[in-house]
Symmetry: none
Subunit: 202 residues, 4 copies
Amino acid sequence: MQIIEVAEKLFSLKGFDGASIRDIAEEAGVNLAMISYYFGSKEKLMEAIFEQRMGQVRMRVESMLKDDSLAPFQKMELLIDENIDRIMQRQQFHKILICEQIINKNPIIIKLVNEQKKKNAEVIGELIKDGQKKGVFKKDIDVVLLLNSFFGTLTQTMISKDYYRNFIKIEFQSDSDFEAYLKKRLSKHLKLVFKAILTYEE
Amino acid sequence: MQIIEVAEKLFSLKGFDGASIRDIAEEAGVNLAMISYYFGSKEKLMEAIFEQRMGQVRMRVESMLKDDSLAPFQKMELLIDENIDRIMQRQQFHKILICEQIINKNPIIIKLVNEQKKKNAEVIGELIKDGQKKGVFKKDIDVVLLLNSFFGTLTQTMISKDYYRNFIKIEFQSDSDFEAYLKKRLSKHLKLVFKAILTYEE
Amino acid sequence: MQIIEVAEKLFSLKGFDGASIRDIAEEAGVNLAMISYYFGSKEKLMEAIFEQRMGQVRMRVESMLKDDSLAPFQKMELLIDENIDRIMQRQQFHKILICEQIINKNPIIIKLVNEQKKKNAEVIGELIKDGQKKGVFKKDIDVVLLLNSFFGTLTQTMISKDYYRNFIKIEFQSDSDFEAYLKKRLSKHLKLVFKAILTYEE
Amino acid sequence: MQIIEVAEKLFSLKGFDGASIRDIAEEAGVNLAMISYYFGSKEKLMEAIFEQRMGQVRMRVESMLKDDSLAPFQKMELLIDENIDRIMQRQQFHKILICEQIINKNPIIIKLVNEQKKKNAEVIGELIKDGQKKGVFKKDIDVVLLLNSFFGTLTQTMISKDYYRNFIKIEFQSDSDFEAYLKKRLSKHLKLVFKAILTYEE
DNA sequence: CATGAATGAGTCTTCATTCAT
DNA sequence: AATGAATGAAGACTCATTCAT
């Protein structure tokens, strides 16, 4: 578990090929051979990270979405905030996730990722259908592009965090202060984008 | 020039650390030592790619933005389509661009990228001010988050292209057919998002 | 230890830059990577040789010099023979030592060498003071030039051994016979030189 | 000629294997290919240096030694000072000379060096015979060891110059001041050594 | 069960040299 | 006569993995 934590950190900093298991073993304070011994190989270690991190998704959301006392917009906003929190808390992993979709395409990982994407599309799809039935959402919504805008905005913001912090001329007392500010802005911004996509008729 | 082309391709497929200069030399049909000979080092080769690709940006746009006969919305739509075209034509480079912002962080490259981001923010910033003066755009627009949504949506769509193609149940006769379809959908989607962000008042 | 032995041999034959770790690994019968594995780098291997060889100096001498029953001249002669033996037994190392003082100048090694020189100067300095106090050595002796003559004669003889063997018209039955002859001649010669420097008044 | 000068400098600083013809070409301000073009190869360049530098020896000495009005001791002292000057003026070359006798033993160079040594032995041999005939030098003098002591002292002093300067607690205004001081000390020291070897009976 | 030692394959880079111009 | 471009060989070093203990 500690190995996974260190590996996640180093993979996110240097990439899969850039981080050596030597580095990982050293920083984790374990024997070099133990990584191959426990995980089988470097590739398998990466897979273990993905299994570990992707298995934790969704719990609170599921039940909430079934709650009929909540309006579709409320559910959508909950979903947005929930995911902003989740991703901002696991930035290292999500950096790896992006890179993994571009390079090193390990089939096992790609499969895991696509399953997750499918689940995401299903959840949001149901929510949209519900909203459409209730007449508050418009017809013809491209779920995938909606999700791409959502996750794309989040990841793009995440990887250019430093640039953004430098751009807005506000001084923050600590990193977590800035992080909190960022989440608030993202929340507002993304809710607006969702609202537009879900209701705006050309 | 041919080396740059091959290197761009392999870097986008395997990442900077994953692509060896051996691979690059072989695929480019040149001697292994030629790469160090021409570019000095692997790092410098990467920098050469960035200088090559980032120097080509914008020309038509500049003049167009100064054209007073165009309404802010028209300009904005032109800008969107222009950038969709540009990025979809240079997908390999933009994949590298994303990874480079996450890992390896060569300072020279980061500097180039940040300068480009600044220019982007300035161009869109002027356009927005113009629209606000003319009363067609709302106040208080976060330029950076707007751009993050734009480029984030594009890159997210690009890296999950295969998933998207599989998801929509349409059969395409060729890759370029799908590519064209994708660009049309993206154009429509992003114009909607921009319109919302630029005009929608909560 | 075996690697050090082989490295010493090859460094003395081809020089630091001329001897590749490939050669060393091959001749030592170990894997190429083992040298980096054990020593860290080629430079560190060289440092290891110096630490190994310079740590062994002097032991018998120390006690001998404190022996008050020996006259200064006797001590000096013992010191001369001791050092001739030491250097002739480690000719390979002393060849490296000379080259290292001219080229490559690894600071760690230079430091070790200078410390050794300082110790040598101290030992001989004490001996000289003792002899002066007892009135058998003259005043105003340049310790460093005395040592330079001593070690310079030895090394010069060592590196032009072949020429010397060819010059004197004596046939030797074996290399070790010649070596023994050389040591005897050197001993006589150097004792004469020392005596002159220590007593001869202009 | 300029190439030879630069090559001599770099070979003396980094050794034959450590100095690349790239470095030499760059510092000499000539084309990289010109060195192979003019000299044939790196080895031949080294040979050219030796031919250049060893051809210049002896001119004034020859005539002087035939001068019958000079006593053997006077001739000897002239010879000593002459050679101290010569070597101290060509320190770079003599550093190369030492290394070349230890490593990289190019046969052509070794031949040149041995011829020079033979000439040296002849000249000093004649001088000694003359002195013996005149009854001022003793019998049984080992010419080679005498020369070894002479050149050995000089080279040893040369390569540990910095240590010596640091050891004696005298401050020098300039490098050439120290160099002059060194030559004076060496001259006195070596004349004493010679006198002892040539006259001292055990 | 856990690990220190060892390895072969691979990394990037630099080398002296050559060749067409 | 002189050189820029190009190259094969070799350089030191690091890698993920294995294996005997």
